[in-house]
Amino acid sequence: MELPDPYLPGAISLLEQIDKKLMVMLRDGKTLIGYLRTIDQFANLVLHETLERIHVDKFYGDIPRGIFLIRGENVVLAGEVDETRQTGLIQVSLEEILRMQREKTEQKERYQQTKHRILQGSGRLPSNKNDLLIDDAY
């Protein structure tokens, strides 16, 4: 199927990934894995049989999410999953990974609070902490 060059200017190279299993990283840090079904010029994606994969250290857990429509502006990258590659990662149950994630975020929160207190003392306040497009929260 040969399409003329400017047909889907923003995401033509994703056409090759249709019906393949993709790992999509989002700006908020989420990792979604699913079969790519549809794309458009903004890199909006429709993923089928999507799993949200949570990674903590060497462990991971999956949450089944069904069908996802992702707005293109939130996509960081979309990679083709190679099932044959050994990763050395260990899958655990959902409760387990959520518990580990909670511990990790609590740790980070404590660190951030200390940092915030110190920087606040010198008059600097954080803006948007979660958006990847803003490099420095302060």
Binding site: M23, G29, A43, H55, V75, L77, D82, L89, L132
Partner: protein
């Protein structure tokens, strides 16, 4: 358009793309589009411990808006040509 043409001339070369989330990806530039979205093949991640989800990914599409830097091999880039192209580009935009 200038950098789109510039990257088109670099297709097939090895580059390192650093993203705004501090992820660095080495790979061969497979394709680029007008938004400077890039597709890299045969990728390796600079710090795989921090980004375990990338371990089973061989090639990826990177949205242009999240790229911070693209590190290029110095011998692949004709800086003279780039300078001339930039000057032409500025002259053209002044005429408009």
């Amino acid at each position: 358009m200038l950098f789109f043409s510039f990257f088109k001339s670099l297709v097939g070369k090895d580059v390192v793309v650093e993203l705004k989330n501090d992820l660095s990806i080495m790979g061969t530039l497979h394709s680029v589009d007008q938004y400077l979205n890039m597709k890299l093949s045969e990728i390796t991640v600079a710090d795989p411990e921090r980004h375990p989800h990338m371990l089973s990914v061989k090639n990826c599409f990177i949205r242009g808006s999240v790229i911070r830097y693209v590190q290029l091999p110095a011998d692949q880039v004709d800086t003279q040509l780039l300078q001339e192209a930039s000057r032409k580009e500025i002259l053209q935009s002044r005429q408009k």
